[in-house]
């Protein structure tokens, strides 16, 4: 698809701030609404996006989010320079979490991040290297 048909939104996700985590997902929600996407699509994108944002804050000291909106799909790319995921299969299991206790005491780190991202999107691709970082690409088809 040629670039004229999409609009890109770029966000820097702040690494040490839980209260601002989620801001990107709120902004995307508003933009999608203005562009006439259905309530269901908006919700799927917002859940996947929020989980991804929180993941980057918890595990990777932040990162960058790019959302490309096409008429027929929404692509979410989350890239961080964090520790990487040693065992993707385990990380995809519901309830598996490596979040530290102080994070869990805030109600995060329930081990549902990646499973939810998978559940609410049509495809998810994870490129990760331990010690280098992780890039998660998700697509929600409309």
């Amino acid at each position: 698809m040629i670039d004229n048909d999409k609009v890109n939104f770029h966000f820097d996700i702040d690494g040490d701030n839980f209260t601002t985590a989620g801001e990107a997902s709120v902004k995307i929600k508003k933009a999608l609404r203005q562009m006439g996407f259905s309530a269901d699509t908006i919700r799927r994108v917002s859940v996947a996006m929020y989980e991804g944002e929180i993941n980057m804050v918890i595990h990777a000291d932040g990162g960058e989010a790019d959302v490309n909106v096409y008429p027929n799909k929404i692509e979410i790319i989350l890239a961080d320079k964090g520790p990487g995921i040693p065992d993707i299969e385990k990380a995809m299991q519901a309830g598996y979490s490596t979040a530290p206790d102080d994070i869990r005491s805030l109600g995060f780190g329930a081990g549902m991040g990646l499973p939810n991202m998978k559940k609410y999107t049509d495809s998810i691709d994870i490129q990760t290297e331990v010690g280098v970082g992780t890039t998660v690409t998700m697509v929600v088809n409309v």
Binding site: K6, V7, K30, A31, G36, A39, P71, N116
Partner: protein, 417 residues
Amino acid sequence: MPQYLHSVTLDVSRCKGCTNCIKRCPTEAIRVRDGHAIIKEENCIDCGECIRLCPYKAKKAIYDKFEDFAHYKYKIALPAPALYGQFDELDDVDEILTAILKCGFDAVFEVSRAAEIVTEYTRRYMERPDIQKPVISSACPAIVRLIGLRFSSLADNLLPIMPPIEYAARLARKEALEAHPELCDDDICVLFISPCPAKISYIKNPIAVEKTAVTGALAISDFYFKIRSERKNVKNPLPLSRTGIIGLNWAGTGGEATSLLSGKYLAADGIENCINVLDEIENGTIRDLDFVEFNACNGGCVGGTLNVENPYIAKARLRSLRKYLPISRNRVDGQDVSDDVLSDKDFFENIEGLSIESRAEAIKRMTHVEEIYKTLPHLDCGSCGAPNCHALAEDIVAGEATVEDCLIRLRENFHKN
């Protein structure tokens, strides 16, 4: 779509064109153009925040006058429970209800009575196995409109039970027709005594019901004085009230939610707080909740902009008023939710989104908006008349504003030249 009739409106002669309201409007529905504010009707939810904060009292609510209904044979008043909190040294609701009759009404039906029935039906609804949780209260019309505009994916979470004002009007009409068989429905007018513009707007644009049984709305701020002067003439109050603690509690935040007797609830008030909680529910971050109550106004309905008393004082008065009351004075028979209290149509139309062609057009426009936005100073100062730089970029693309409206850029260009 039929035209939406708002209660919140602008008195242009009083408006100075300052930017207080545009910055605080939760749906970015106000712009300042040509020296005065304009309300973008399609975005306004009638929450009344602009009425609250306008320093020049240029924002106001449109409401009805009692005199406008003189031609009706039978007039019923529907006092909101918040009304009782407006009066000092009150220990008997009947004193106020009797005073309302003396103002010229034939009957009075407390909204709090219907609220107690709505509470009982809500408890039953919550036991249904197939409902979408958390169930979100649909009693505050400003919140329901907000959900329609910004959180439509939560439409299925809204409680499909009529708000107490609607159910009260229907019960009041039924009671009147039973007591006076000579009347027909068109002879009766039902007037709500409202604490806020949102509920007045509900009567003009009913939510989730085909037709409302409420005829019009008086404002507490206006009708209060009439009730107060009649109150002095009340020697022996008539035994009119049929409300318990639960009904009165609906006047404040938490009243509706706590009466469900389930611990897994959340009760939020203040429009910004409500928006934050709605965002979290939509993101799926708040789990394990059964019921969520939202009140657009701080303190709940006692915080509505048409009250005369401070919301916390009103709440304290209601607290002492309920001291000797039973928990509830309205019970309903049967097991399930009665059909006559259920919403008879969907909350919102058009949540399916636009066609793919329209979305492609919208994406082009949005690309343009983002390009313009990048060139703006991102100060969100509001001096262009839009609430923030992004809204200005949207207005420019919509042809409603120009880049020259940005005073910061204008100044930069001036210095360059």
